[in-house]
């Protein structure tokens, strides 16, 4: 384990940013967000960013291809230039897990090379949680907020920040910082873990379980009558999918720039009415069906295809942001549990 005095944190950021692009969560209007580090920027005191960290690997919009049209002829251009190496500092345990969930979508055959390219160039420094919120329920999905996944895991105490490399990428990053960080024993980290775990035991969503969900209850859950009352107030605004770290549905659209066509991939939402609309009809015409699709995907379909892993990390963003206060916790409490 390595250690850095907290007062040295700006120097550490500067040292990382000297070699690679560094992103970190900073305070901004409306809440914390990831920004590119420049001198003077400091780590937010907020627990987490308003938006998830999925943008780093699956940006909200991205240029997939370009086309030059001349008469009857078309020229196809791959717009990608080599992606630069970057470091994302301060990713929380929930968002760190979301990357491995997104990997199960984008890195399975046939591989999404846009995503893969970014994954390969990015180094994740995750930051253990010290003050989890009442909307947090990562424990439900077996995530340890006191020991998050990542290339490097960091723990921030009152006077220091501790690091542990967990991958080769992480080793390389810490090796580059050897002038700043020093060897340390893990006593302080252990103490913090124990203290935070006590807090987590008292979280209001501590008792939430995945019991009753999984890949083997597909038709039973699909046909549950409760979807009607659960979805009744849903506005279909898509905010939940927008802030969700694991929602990965996308649209592909062309834009005529006036001097060529640009093809973009943009985030989309299964909550929208035109998501499945075809020239001859729409298989999901009601908000009930669209609402059900989103939760069935996370709690049943995704685990069916991924050895029981759920498509939710318990970050709580949808709890905080849904305008009608509907969320996955209510769905799980209504449809899950022992009554299955």
């Amino acid at each position: 384990m390595k250690k850095l005095s907290l007062s040295q944190l700006p120097a550490l950021f500067a040292a990382i940013a000297e070699k690679e692009t560094l992103y970190l969560p900073v305070d901004a209007e409306g809440g914390a967000r990831f920004e590119r580090f420049t001198e003077g920027k400091t780590l937010t005191g907020e627990l987490n960013t308003v938006r998830s960290a999925k943008d780093f690997f699956f940006p909200q919009t991205e240029n997939l291809a370009e086309f030059k049209m001349e008469g009857k002829n078309i020229e196809v251009i791959d717009p990608r230039t080599e992606t630069e190496d970057f470091v994302v500092f301060g990713v929380r345990a929930c968002d760190a897990r979301s990357f491995s969930i997104l990997d199960k979508v984008f890195l399975v055959d046939p591989v999404d090379t846009y995503y893969k390219n970014r994954r390969e160039h990015g180094t994740i420094v995750s930051l253990a949680c010290t003050r989890p919120h009442e909307t947090c329920f990562c424990q439900t999905f077996g995530i340890d907020a006191t020991d998050p996944e990542g290339d490097v895991t960091a723990w921030k105490t009152d006077d220091a920040i501790y690091f542990e490399a967990k991958t080769e990428k992480g080793d390389r990053l810490l090796a580059n910082l050897s002038d700043l960080i020093e060897e340390a024993d893990d006593t302080a980290v252990k103490e913090q873990k124990e203290a935070v775990k006590k807090v987590m035991d008292r979280l209001p969503l501590k008792s939430l379980t995945t019991e009753g969900f999984g890949g083997d209850v597909m038709m039973e859950k699909f046909n549950a009558p409760e979807w009607k009352s659960l979805s009744e107030a849903c506005l279909g605004c898509g905010t939940c999918t927008f802030v969700c770290p694991t929602c990965q549905c996308y649209d592909i659209r062309d834009f005529n720039t006036g001097h060529g066509i640009k093809r973009f991939r943009c985030w989309d939402s299964c909550m929208y009415s035109d998501f499945t609309k075809m020239a001859h009809g729409n298989p999901r015409t009601s908000q009930l069906e669209r609402f059900r699709q989103r939760f069935m995907h996370k709690l049943v379909y995704f685990p069916a295809n991924n050895e029981g892993e759920f498509g939710c990390v318990g970050c709580g963003r949808c709890l905080a942001k849904c305008p009608i206060s509907m969320n996955i916790v209510k769905v799980m409490r209504t449809l899950g549990g022992k009554k299955a």
Partner: protein
């Protein structure tokens, strides 16, 4: 599929022939700028066709893989992209990526079997690929029946090929039907599901259905009535698709992605999925 390095970046192909099939269906023949077929495929597989700036859509490949020269797509005019395609001329370039999907089990489950093809309207497009594959490898399959129906005689796709080639292939029986009486038509009149029941096929056959959802539903019910089991019946599905590789989420039904795990399903497999197609 895994050997395709950039699956979301299409390649350019040139339209070398446009055949008017019906008032709203045309068949487009395409080759690469070098004059070659863009890629190999399995009958039942699809490809993403696009006119940049207009749109991109998943279309079933209607030509047989045994055709080594070119690839064909029979396309009904019904949306932005298809309307644009219908108004273009020979020589136009478009883009293609694929092939996508599982295709029909032509070299496994279908082998040696008597095959019963049942199509309605533009639903013949994906089946034509299998029918011509089977005709080209005639010795590998048993007797072939083709039941094909459309609204009118003028709406029968591939009419010339059906009459001149399919009807003259040994071991192939073609049964055509149209929805309503029409002058100059002395064939059968009536809907496909009823016609299938009237014809009353041997229940040892393997059936392959494609057409409007309502036709598939009633035909499957009709086949079950005359003794077919769902495990003997295959169909191919259509849903909105954007990526073709099971990632964009649009064609997700239950634990399946129609673009990747389908579009071909055995009808008993559909029973295990939510009815959202």
């Amino acid at each position: 599929m895994s050997d395709m390095k950039e699956t979301l970046i299409p390649q350019v192909v040139t339209v070398t022939d446009i055949r008017v099939e019906t008032p709203d269906v045309k068949t487009f023949r395409i080759v690469t700028p070098e004059g070659k077929k863009p890629f190999e495929h399995i009958p039942g597989q699809c490809a993403m066709l696009s006119v940049p700036g207009v749109g991109e859509a998943m279309i079933s490949i209607t030509s047989s893989p045994t055709n080594k020269e070119f690839m064909e797509f029979s396309i009904k005019e019904c949306g932005c992209l298809t309307t644009w395609l219908h108004s273009m001329d020979v020589g136009q370039q478009i883009t293609i990526r694929g092939p996508y999907g599982n295709g029909f089990p032509v070299d496994t489950a279908f082998k040696g079997k008597d095959l019963l093809f049942i199509a309605g309207g533009i639903g013949l497009a994906p089946l034509r690929s299998v029918i011509n594959y089977v005709r080209d490898k005639r010795a590998d399959y048993g007797h072939v029946d083709i039941v094909y129906g459309s609204r009118s005689k003028d709406d029968l796709v591939d009419y010339k090929e059906i009459m001149e080639e399919w009807c003259n292939t040994e071991g192939v029986d073609v049964h055509l039907t149209i929805d309503r009486e029409q002058e100059g038509w002395d064939g059968h009149v009536g809907f496909v599901p009823n016609y299938v029941k009237e014809l009353g096929f041997d229940v040892n056959k393997t059936a392959i259905i494609c057409g409007p959802p309502i036709m598939i539903k009633f035909t499957l019910a009709g086949l079950q009535e005359i003794g077919f089991d769902k495990t003997q019946v295959y169909t191919t599905m259509e849903l909105r698709m954007k990526c073709g590789i099971g990632k964009c989420g649009r064609c997700n039904i239950g634990s399946k992605y129609v673009c990747k795990d389908g579009p071909v399903f055995r009808c008993d497999e559909l029973d295990e999925l939510p009815n959202e197609y």
